[in-house]
């Protein structure tokens, strides 16, 4: 908990991540333009207030500006142009949040009323903590088990709501080692203010040793494999089975054609929905035989099975 209070001056960018420093630059731009407007306005206000006060009789009060529309259009256009610039600047940065780099390391986050459960692909599990290596971009795949939460790391200037029923993603590339706040930013009930945590950014070697020290009962994928057999998935999807079920090898990242003629990329969300609500997305050429596991398996188990299915190969998934 070393540099807890290391919140340096909030106004200067101290870039925990590339995105954070560009957001701080945007903040300075916004503050500068606002101060410009405020100084202009307050100067005029005070000048008129003092010069044209009722007591000051020798102020020149005739030949007032008659035609106002020239002045009006001038300051309207000026404000519009300034706003357009700020809009474009903000929008461009916002869109970076959506183009996730290819090499981002996926980590699964499950939000539950009033705690964060984090699961690394290697099987390490953390509560209200996220240990990540420096200079390695990270992609969080987040889902909630009950109400809407919001994963907020002030230092990285990033936040995204965590919705029940679907999974949301954020990514960041930490540039500075240190311990940073994690807050829940969407009101979620009694202990909303206790649903906080720490993001620990470590040097690569330290991270390796930390990973090794975690008592891991197998990687996420290996736990998923045992669940795959335990829940009877291998009964149909295993290669020795007599039941016609779509093969899962190489499924992750491939394009799947569905029974109603549409095509979908089999990303984590597709796999997740096919496990929980299989009958809604039936692969072309197959009957809707698979039982729905919604409500029967917990969020953590779904995450493990997804990791296992991904581990069966496919362009996006790296076989572990």
């Amino acid at each position: 908990m070393d540099n807890w209070a290391s919140h340096a001056n909030p106004l200067l960018p101290h870039g925990e991540t590339t995105h954070a420093s560009s957001v701080d630059l945007l903040f300075l731009g916004l503050v500068a333009s606002s101060i410009l407007v405020l100084v202009l306005l307050f100067f005029l206000l005070f000048r008129f207030a003092i010069h044209y006060r009722a007591g000051n009789t020798n102020a020149d009060r005739d030949h007032r500006i008659r035609k106002s529309w020239r002045l009006e259009t001038a300051w309207t256009v000026a404000t519009l142009v300034a706003f357009l610039a700020l809009f474009v600047w903000g929008a461009r940065l916002y869109l970076n949040l959506y183009d996730v780099p290819g090499d981002a390391q996926p980590i699964y986050v499950v939000a539950k009323q009033w705690m964060w459960k984090v699961q690394h692909p290697g099987g390490q599990r953390e509560i209200n903590e996220l240990h990540i290596p420096i200079n390695q971009s990270v992609r969080l795949i987040m889902s909630s088990q009950d109400v809407i939460h919001s994963f907020f790391i002030p230092a990285f200037r990033v936040k995204h709501d965590v919705l029940p029923g679907t999974s949301e993603e954020i990514w960041f590339d930490p540039r500075k080692a240190g311990v940073f706040h994690l807050f829940c930013a969407e009101y979620c009930g009694t202990d909303h203010s206790r649903m906080t945590g720490r993001i620990v950014v470590m040097q690569q070697p330290e991270f390796e040793t930390w990973l090794a020290r975690q008592d891991v009962n197998g990687t996420l994928a290996s736990q998923g494999a045992s669940l795959f057999r335990q829940l009877g998935c291998s009964g149909c999807h295993g290669n020795g089975s007599k039941v016609r079920a779509p093969a899962l090898e190489g499924l992750y990242g491939s394009r799947v054609s569905l029974s109603d003629g549409t095509m979908e990329i089999a990303d984590e969300r597709f796999i997740r929905d096919s496990i929980l609500k299989p009958r809604a997305k039936i692969a072309a050429g197959y009957q809707a035989l698979m039982p729905a596991y919604e409500g029967k398996i917990s969020e953590d188990e779904v995450v493990k099975i997804i990791a296992y299915v991904k581990s069966l190969g496919g362009e996006m998934g790296v076989p572990q």
Binding site: D260, K277, R279, A280, I282, A288
Partner: protein, 216 residues
Amino acid sequence: MHKMPDAQPAFQFVDMRQQHDVARLGMWVFLATEVLFFGGLILSYSAYRTGYPTGFAEAARHTKIVIGTANTAILLTSSFLVAWAVTVARLRDSRFAALLLWTAALLGVVFLVLKGVEYSAEFNEHLLPGFGFAFSGPHIHAAHLFFSFYLVATGLHAVHVAVGIVVLVVIGLRAHQRAYSDLYHSPITVAGLYWHFVDLVWIFLFALIYLPGRGG
């Protein structure tokens, strides 16, 4: 013979024309709020329909189109009768206007009865969310959302029809006592506007509830 009410404008109006105009304008503003009140439901319907198009079509096939069509015809006819009653009332034929209004109200009651029949049938088929909803097949989510919209929208509409029936009966009574003439007719005009609006809402609800998915 009942004395014709002296057509005196209310305290804040200059003359009767201004009073009629204000009453009509006020009702149109109220109808605008009703459009947006039902609009909230229309948004939830269209949002979920963009999400579950085939699911909505599948669920809509379970609605009773025969009762729906009959109900639409009934409301259109009663709306016609009310429009006729308003024109007749303005020609000082109050008595006949009262008869027309009561017939329209009767048709409104028939509409509600048919609606009740439809609801009980759907209740037995477990199609009403919150009242033992069960739906087999892959589109259970879409069906649940469709029938939630169906229940809230038609329920709310039925409440508006019931209020309309009471208004038509009361205005009919006043018309029966020769209350209305070309000088004083804003209550019947405003009641007519309300009833036509209730019919207008049903026209759109009919298109959203009973027609999708019929093409198979």
